[in-house]
């Protein structure tokens, strides 16, 4: 099926960088601790680049990539949503 099943969304408050929010959200979806995810996020997307894209308020745009079998979207608000193929 081409549909995505919504798994989890982590709002990104000021204290969490988008890269941190991504690993928290995927870990939540997988029900493991963030350090049990493999590979490390840096092998899939550059965490510094991801964070710098969102280091000022954005009104539009989304960054989407595959990580640990999920489709991860970082939204303009800095929120992260994690979906798996349904």
């Amino acid at each position: 099926m081409g549909e995505f099943e919504f798994v989890t969304e982590v709002p990104s408050p000021d204290r969490l960088e988008p890269s941190q929010a991504v690993v928290e959200a995927v870990a939540t979806a997988e029900d493991v601790s963030p350090r049990e995810l493999s590979p490390p996020l840096a092998y899939v997307v550059d965490p510094d680049a991801l964070d710098s894209l969102f280091d000022r308020p954005r009104t539009d745009g989304v960054v989407r990539f595959r990580y640990c079998g999920y489709t991860v979207s970082v939204l303009a608000s800095g929120s992260v949503d994690v979906r798996t193929a349904g």
Binding site: S19, P34, P40, L41, P47
Partner: protein, 135 residues
């Protein structure tokens, strides 16, 4: 697991490019300073590294750092900073054994000794101006 052999050889130009990219981040500079200042040759457990980094930020003794504080620091060590330092060939990282050490190459130690400030904290220049002492 990441091993030395899994890393392709780099020429000098590529080494310098990756080194400067990796040094552009204050957390990575702190990691390298901690590793450079160690006299022990054996690899440092990542848990200890995280504790030292939290302590450095606060000019506090490592013994005052809680497990919870060190634990949250370890997450981005694992997901961001250690992979980048490893890819830049400045550290050896045993991902499964969770240990790190400075790469055993003369040019790594020499380059870092020349480039890294002796001490640096994450506090802003404003904080320093207002008189917190820095060891």
């Amino acid at each position: 697991m990441d091993t030395e052999s899994a890393r392709p050889e780099m020429d000098e130009a590529e080494f310098l490019e990756r080194l400067t990219e990796t040094l552009s981040d204050p957390e990575r500079r702190s990691i390298l300073r901690v590793l450079l200042d160690r006299s022990a040759a054996r690899p440092l457990p990542v848990e200890r590294l995280a504790t030292k980094l939290v302590a450095r930020d606060r000019d506090a003794a490592p013994g005052t750092v809680t497990d919870e504080q060190a634990d949250s620091r370890r997450t981005m060590l694992y997901h961001c900073h250690l992979p980048k330092l490893h890819r830049a060939a400045v550290i050896d990282w045993d991902r499964t054994g969770e240990r790190v050490s400075l790469a055993d190459r003369p040019r790594v130690r020499d380059a870092l000794s020349a480039l890294l400030p002796d001490s640096e904290s994450h506090r802003s220049a404003t904080d320093r101006k207002w008189g917190s002492s820095s060891s």
